[in-house]
């Protein structure tokens, strides 16, 4: 059996005994060799049953003719390859953290500014029922309600409004105010898509399981992907629940069940009695996903699949709210009884 084996210095054809039959050495360009080395590392090619004598093969192949050349070149190539992989993984998470925090900064400002615009512009057009971005777009486009064209759906309202007249100076001011708000909305969208793209390469599994934005937020609160990967899933579950957590530590309130992962649609939309269980399952897979991202960096679709299975199982096992314990003649099933006991015992 003859086999092909591509190694860091060339493409080899070997016979059963590992002897060289044919060989194409690569060009001795360290950068290109480093790139190919990384591709091969991902590639999962078939390899001989046991390590062939690479060094001797490199001589036979005419790639180098001295031990020292082999060492020097291999070392150079491996250092380049490792540096490449690190520089791309390393700064990414700092950039994502900045992006997420910028998103929060923008939200805070946008809320205040749009609130201001609503009240301010309300003086001139109180019947306008727009808020947020649509309001800003409207003010930017028309300024005074006198400018709303007659084929516009709001023309009727605009012409019958009881608001005061808008002076030219005020109109200019409001329009530029609205224009700033609109560009904040644009920047916000821009940052969001930046995060989605960035998470796809930094933490593909986390993005898959939690969604890019929630995933990025978890990284940001944890401080880095490395820290997130080091948390046990019970901590992941309460990340972002700082206030409830401190309250729990100070007074005797129950510990928080959910942190920001509770914001995920899957949990938010679930009936209340399933949420704790769903959040726990969700946190466990988020934790696994962030570890996979940090340590291997490779996408593993089975994490998400297993999560889906688990979520479905939880939904099926808990179709209706647990019955109250005090009800006479309660026919609590074994499983439910257990759940209740555990809860009581912790108090």
């Amino acid at each position: 059996m003859v086999s092909e084996f591509t190694v860091w210095f060339g493409r080899l054809t070997l016979d059963e005994a590992g002897e060289l039959i044919d060989c194409h050495p690569f060009e001795k360009n360290p950068d290109i060799l480093a790139e190919r080395l990384l591709e091969l590392q991902e590639g999962g090619q078939k390899v001989p049953a046991t390590a062939p004598d690479l060094r001797r093969l490199a001589f036979d192949c005419g790639f180098v003719d001295m031990d020292e050349d082999y060492d020097v070149l291999l070392r150079d190539v491996c250092i380049r390859a490792a540096k490449n992989r690190i520089s791309s993984t390393d700064t990414d998470d700092v950039r994502i953290v900045h992006a997420v925090e910028a998103l929060d900064d923008i939200d805070k400002n946008v809320n205040e500014l749009s609130e201001r615009l609503l009240e301010w512009y309300g003086l001139y057009f109180p019947e306008l029922e727009l808020t947020g971005e649509p309001l800003s777009r409207f003010v930017l486009a028309f300024g005074s309600r006198a400018n709303v064209p007659d084929d516009h759906p709001l023309f009727e309202k605009a012409s019958k409004s009881m608001g005061s007249e808008l002076s030219f100076a005020d109109e200019e001011l409001l329009r530029s105010f609205a224009s700033n708000l609109c560009s904040l909305y644009d920047t916000r969208r821009h940052i969001e898509s930046y995060i989605v793209t960035g998470m796809g390469s930094l933490a593909p599994n986390l993005a898959d399981v939690a969604g890019a934005l929630l995933g990025a937020r978890l990284i940001s609160i944890a401080g880095s992907l490395q820290k997130l990967a080091s948390f046990p899933s019970s901590t992941v579950q309460v990340i972002g629940a700082n206030r409830a957590l401190f309250k729990h530590l100070r007074s005797n309130t129950p510990p928080p069940k959910h942190g920001i992962i509770f914001n995920n649609i899957i949990i938010k939309n679930a009936p209340w009695w399933q949420r704790g269980k769903l959040a726990r399952a969700f946190a466990a897979k988020i934790s696994l996903a962030s570890r996979t991202d940090f340590y291997s960096g490779k996408k593993d679709p089975s994490i998400k699949e297993k999560l889906e299975l688990k979520l479905t199982a939880i939904r099926n096992a808990n179709p209706s709210p647990p019955k109250k314990e005090t009800k006479p003649g309660g026919k609590a099933s074994g499983a439910r009884g257990k759940g209740r006991k555990k809860k009581g015992g912790k108090r």
Partner: protein, 230 residues
């Protein structure tokens, strides 16, 4: 002050009545992790802190270390290179392939590789030896310190592929990575048993000893691989 070479490149030094471990610094003037440097008869040595290195602790626990000055070593779990730097001193005519899978840790290791000519860094998961089969040649010695639950398996699959006939395995087993509750003694016994044939290769265990007082709940082990038909 007296200097005694315990085995290839590993020295025991009597510093004012206190015995310490050291290697000959192949990069004179540079201290890698804050360890003390000193000169004796024109040669610079680096002190080797056994508390920061399983291999160092094994030397002090009287293990016979199978490293020669010209060995080719596959080192699994290189971390930032504390121990690797001493291995690099020992192998003044050899080469060490240093595998580490955490990119952050790898950054420190690369700095070390930039200084030293005989360390080849590989960012890879030791569970997947085939992901570096196109880089690493046959090794005389595999050293492993990965602190993972499947330590015996990692050692076996790597040895099966990369270790020379009759090559040596130096292994540090951390019981708490395998099971935090079970007794370390029992875990060590199980792991050694797995090594002696659990994963398609067989080893003859030459020496095993716990590394306590330097590293709690760690077992050091030196073994030699059997070859088919012996």
């Amino acid at each position: 002050m007296s200097v005694e070479e315990l085995s290839d490149g590993i020295f025991e030094i009597d510093l004012d009545g206190r015995k310490t471990l050291a290697t000959k610094n192949i990069m004179p003037g540079i201290s890698v992790y804050g360890e003390r440097l000193f000169r004796e008869e024109g040669v610079e040595y680096r002190l080797w802190d056994p508390r920061r290195s399983k291999l160092g602790a094994m030397v002090l626990k009287k293990f016979e270390i199978p490293l020669k000055y010209d060995s080719t070593v596959l080192y699994l779990g290189a971390a930032s290179g504390t121990t690797v730097s001493h291995v690099s001193d020992i192998l003044r005519d050899g080469l060490v392939y240093a595998v580490e899978f955490s990119p952050r840790t790898m950054r420190d290791l690369i700095q070390l590789c930039d200084q030293r000519p005989n360390i080849i860094p590989i960012l890879a998961d030791a569970n997947k030896p085939l992901s570096y089969a196109h880089i690493v040649e046959k090794a005389d010695v595999i050293f492993q310190d990965v602190a993972q639950p499947n330590q015996a398996e990692i050692a076996s699959v790597n040895s099966k592929y990369f270790l020379e006939k009759h090559g040596h395995l130096i292994l540090s087993i951390k019981s708490r990575s395998i099971d935090t509750l079970a007794s370390p003694k029992k875990i060590f016994k199980d792991e050694v048993h797995k090594l002696e044939g659990g994963f398609g290769v067989e080893f003859e265990v030459l020496q095993r000893k716990e590394l306590d007082s330097f590293h709690e709940d760690h077992l050091g082990l030196v073994a030699r691989m059997f070859v088919d038909g012996e």
